[in-house]
């Protein structure tokens, strides 16, 4: 029977002690712990959210970077292409210029050669004329060393002159 009849002494002490324990724990124990645990879990949640955001930003940044690299590469290709075209054009122009210049020079040289040749030809003709006169003089001198031949010549020349004169008359 005593098992199920609450003992007053124990009930009294239980009330007193439990009240004290509850007071101490409720003031200095559990609220502090639960508060800290709550704060920490909130902190962890916040950190997780932050991390997710940072990851997102990083991903965007990487994409941006990729895009920029792609653009730069395109630009580079374009510039290279242009340079190649320009180079080709310049080489072509230089070649053209060189050709015209060469042609002009050749033309000039030819002109000079022609003038030189004409001059030379004329000089040669003068020389030949002089030589023929000298040769003729020498030949005449030899043919006219005798009187008879000189007479003959004079006759002939007179004849010729007569003939010529007669023709004119």
């Amino acid at each position: 029977m005593s098992l199920i009849t609450p003992d007053f002494g124990l009930l009294f002490w239980m009330t007193l002690i439990f009240a004290i324990v509850f007071f101490i724990l409720a003031k200095f124990g559990f609220p502090l712990i639960t508060g800290m645990v709550k704060k920490r879990s909130e902190h962890i949640e916040q950190s997780l959210r932050d991390a997710e955001q940072a990851q997102k930003a990083l991903k965007e940044l990487a994409e941006e970077q990729k895009r920029m690299i792609e653009e730069t590469r395109k630009e580079q290709a374009r510039i290279l292409n242009e340079a190649a075209v320009n180079g080709d054009r310049i080489v072509q122009e230089a070649r053209e210029q060189a050709r015209t210049q060469t042609t002009a020079m050749i033309e000039q040289a030819r002109e000079e050669i022609r003038i030189e040749r004409d001059t030379a030809r004329r000089e040669i003709a003068d020389e030949v004329a002089m030589l023929s006169v000298e040769v003729a003089e020498k030949l005449l001198r030899r043919q006219l060393d005798s009187t008879s031949s000189q007479n003959a010549l004079i006759d002939r020349l007179i004849e010729e002159a007569r003939a010529k004169h007669g023709q004119v008359n």
Binding site: L3, F8, L10, L25, V37
Partner: protein, 353 residues
């Protein structure tokens, strides 16, 4: 009571290891206890006492005397060993009575249970404040506790998240300190109750006075802070009018319900822990009961007793936790019910959460 189980283990080991001649010698020794009083043995362990019995060596009792505090036409304080000198004696229920008149005085003695209550309460306060100190000394934002504070944090988080938040709902922070205190108080005392030697071993949570007090606390927490809707549901529930007008049938039932809830809490904890203690004691008692049946039966029964004792011990560990859990859970549910909002909107809000 585990002290006795320890002896049982020892006895079983001796019986198994020693040669038969020695075993024969054991029998008369055990036989000396043939007048084994099972009733006295069990109730001596689960009941209260004015002294803390540690052990008995060769018929000589070793016990710690505890102070008796009595109001009997004046305050009397004396050691329980000197009870007779002060004119008091124990009645057939083991309660202190005036030797001359045979009446119970106003008695607030520090009995075995009170002593155990003081010790366990100091232990509880120390344990929780140690944990709280960790949080004061560390930056909880940067690290989680390890070791003992970590274990306490796990338990506290479990109780708050799984029991209190679920049961109480809104404003759970207001009730968390009481419910946590109740949980740890019950859990610690349940555990100490299964410890067989001195600071433990008292049957505190299996004592009706203790569970009565805890149930009253829950009753107050439920009814003092109950909202309008809760009281309307009790005194004017939504039932056909003839159930409440000439004869207040439903209010009557509801008012009884107010008391049966904490009553069930009280009986559940008390009965579970008490039953656990009695079963353990019974299992251990097998060793002593079979002592006069001869060495073979006693030896084999001792082995069975030890095996059952181990099983019961593990079961009691489980029960120690479950009862603390159930008490806290039901308390939070009752509190939550007393604070429920009447409208259907609240339900919708809860589900959308």
């Amino acid at each position: 009571m585990y002290r006795i189980k320890g002896l049982g283990i020892l006895l079983a080991a001796l019986l198994l290891l020693f040669p038969p001649t020695l075993r024969a010698e054991e029998v008369p020794h055990a036989g000396a206890d043939a007048s084994f009083d099972l009733n006295h043995y069990i109730f001596g362990h689960i009941g209260d006492a004015y002294e803390w019995h540690i052990t008995t060596i060769r018929g000589h009792h070793i016990s710690i005397p505890l102070p008796c505090i009595v109001f009997d036409g004046g305050l009397h304080v004396f050691s329980s060993h000197k009870m007779a000198e002060h004119g008091y004696t124990l009645n057939e229920n083991g309660k202190l009575v005036n030797a001359a008149t045979g009446k119970r005085p106003f008695d607030i003695s520090i009995t075995k249970n009170v002593c155990s209550l003081i010790l366990s309460s100091i232990l509880l306060v120390v344990l929780v404040l140690l944990t709280a100190r960790w949080y004061r000394r560390h930056d909880a934002m940067k690290e989680a506790p390890r070791g003992f504070p970590g274990l306490m944090e796990m338990l506290i988080t479990m109780v708050t998240d799984d029991i209190i938040k679920e049961g109480v709902g809104k404003d759970w922070e207001k009730y968390a300190p009481y419910l946590l205190t109740a949980f740890f108080f019950i859990f610690l005392n349940n555990l100490l109750g299964i410890v067989p030697f001195f600071p433990g071993g008292a049957n505190l949570t299996g004592n009706i006075a203790v569970t009565l007090f805890l149930a009253v606390c829950t009753f107050l927490a439920v009814n003092l802070f109950g909202n309008k809707h809760y009281y309307k549901d009790i005194f004017w529930p939504e039932v056909p009018t003839w159930l409440k007008v000439p004869l207040p049938l439903m209010p009557f039932i509801e008012i009884i319900g107010m008391f049966t809830k904490p009553f069930s809490l009280m009986v559940r904890l008390f009965a579970n822990i008490l039953a656990g203690h009695i079963m353990l004691l019974g299992v251990v008692a097998v060793v002593f009961i079979t002592a006069k049946l001869g060495p073979v039966i006693n030896g084999s029964m001792s082995v069975i007793s030890v095996l059952f004792g181990v099983f019961m011990d593990i079961l009691e560990l489980l029960v120690a936790f479950i009862q603390a859990y159930v008490f806290t859970m039901l308390s939070s549910v009752f509190i939550g019910l007393s604070r429920q909002e009447p409208e259907h909107e609240t339900k919708q809000i809860e589900t959308t959460k």
